[in-house]
Symmetry: C2
């Protein structure tokens, strides 16, 4: 589906959209009873191989909430899993790696992604969604630092100690690793775009664990490589991380169109740090567990700080499973009711 | 023991010390073989009730590393545990609360702390340490927000969702809860000071999960109450949190003497944000897993950014159990070798 004019895409291009667009990270997920009804309890990796299921799960929040964009139901670890690195995604835990990345020998375990061969089910689901949806579909991939942290730590981490130790101890190996991951994420994004995604988001979820110095030295080059590799495409590119207050200016120096921001930095201040680029965010998802009048006030504040031009309303991180979906419906209505 | 002049205390008072002082958060702990040899595998709460063991564990890193201060071996949850809230500290997990805090009815479960009655073993250990040590002993307590997060979430948390929901949904109950916790922490700190601690640190470890707006509204007032309650004492007061880049100016507005900073903000920039107050930090503990030349470079950078006056060298967060203690010994030697 081609979108000549569309609030979400207009905001991504830093224009003033006809209304402030809104979608939610993890909008397809456990907060929705219709998701729980069909999803089962197994690993997301089982679900992902079933295009019909992925189409339904991806479309559910669009129908339910009336959001301005769908986000493809997948996981940043899918390309690594599909190319045989040995990854599982345990419900309630996150990605777990059987044999963590330890040395240069492990580089060979990271194969090039051939999306048509390795993830045909992804392509099938995207094509089906594009035919069905009347809103843009957002594709996504993991940023090299965040992907590498899972490979090295073997799973979710509190302090990314082994990851940081490796980058400092062996910067050359670190670069080879993150550049391989960059190429894999770029190949995945390219395939998602070619098959119909109208925008893409790169998740560097854990970049906020790095100092600005280490971010610029160890995370930025490979992230730049991802965005460079898809710079010939015309779809908007969103770049997101959590706890990135110190990193926003560095992140904005990379050629993405939109910078996603969590709730720690007000959007007017974030806009200054990203040198006026389009921004996405930044309602604290935990606020959505409070009564509606509290949520409404926070929505209004985010809208005021976002300022209308080039602002995509979103949460500062993913939807929490315990959020009442009716609250999110009301958030969407409230965002849409306010003209920039 | 009285310290007429002492590098650690001088730096706390924002003076130029004879050498840059250094200690490490969690310096008494699993990184030390001599700790593992005597500590066993049970909860820290079992160890804390044994003054002889606490004295030995607290003194070990002073002997081993030659740090400029000892930090009392305890946990921020000890006052709550000792007054019967129903807390355990599970090895490898952290504080776990049997019946989480849910409503105003639970306020009655938070008793006033009478340190002499509830924690006589703490007093005994502090007295023994003060008699034995030739460096200042740092006492500590938990800040109300961080303590409340454990009580409400029931354990360690990723997103503090229930905590934030409660503070926004019922600000009055939140204030009553955090003020009770403030009084408990203040009582604990007062007892530690009266029995010989030369300085105290308030850990608001998870304050960085809050926006500046929410920090000032929901965390600052109770933290201010803790420091106000001990403002008649003359010992230096350190105020620490993780991921507090956006909060440093707010934290510095409270009447503590020293602001602890993690590695995300360089110390020269941190000094600006805290309006010139004394600072503590901020080597990334994960760096200590890298080879020595990497660590040495980072130590030099931290010293340069710290600037000598009013700088206590420390890690940006606690010592990781997997750090080689010989690296920390060399860090101390290197810090001491550089005259401010």
């Amino acid at each position: 589906m081609e979108f000549r004019t569309n609030a979400f895409l207009d905001a991504c291009r830093n224009e003033v959209p006809e209304h402030t667009p809104v979608w939610f990270m993890r909008q397809a997920g456990r907060a929705l009873p219709e998701y729980r009804a069909i999803r089962g309890t197994g690993s997301i990796l089982e679900a992902i191989a079933q295009p019909e299921l992925v189409i339904e799960i991806t479309a559910q929040p669009v129908r339910r909430y009336g959001v301005d964009a769908a986000v493809f139901y997948s996981d940043i670890m899918v390309p690594l899993w599909a190319t045989g690195f040995g990854v599982d995604i345990k419900p309630g835990v996150g990605p777990v790696v059987e044999q963590p990345f330890r040395s240069a020998d492990d580089l060979d375990r990271i194969r090039d992604l051939d999306a048509a061969v390795d993830t045909p089910f992804v392509i099938e689901a995207i094509k089906g969604l594009v035919a069905e949806l009347d809103v843009p579909l957002i594709g996504f991939a993991g940023a090299p630092f965040t992907l590498a942290s899972y490979l090295i730590e073997g799973g979710p981490s509190k302090n990314y100690a082994q990851t940081k130790a490796l980058m400092h101890a062996d910067p050359e190996l670190w670069q080879r690793l993150t550049f391989k991951l960059a190429d894999m994420s770029a190949a995945s994004l390219r395939s998602q775009i070619e098959n119909g995604c109208s925008a893409v988001q790169l998740f560097d979820s854990w970049a906020g664990s790095l100092s600005k110095r280490d971010y610029e030295r160890f995370a930025l080059p490979a992230t730049q490589r991802v965005f460079d590799a898809i710079s010939d495409t015309t779809v908007p590119r969103i770049h997101f991380g959590v706890g990135t207050g110190e990193l926003l200016t560095s992140m904005a120096s990379i050629n993405a169109d939109v910078i996603g921001v969590d709730w720690r930095v007000p959007l007017d201040e974030a806009r200054r740090r990203v040198n006026g680029k389009a921004i996405q965010g930044n309602l604290d998802p935990a606020i959505c567990l409070a009564p509606w009048d509290v949520v409404a006030n926070e929505v209004d504040r985010v809208l005021a700080e976002g300022g209308g031009r080039g602002h995509i309303f979103n949460l500062g991180h993913g939807v929490l499973p315990e959020i009442d979906p009716d609250i999110l419906t009301r958030v969407v209505e409230r965002v849409h009711a306010r003209t920039p």
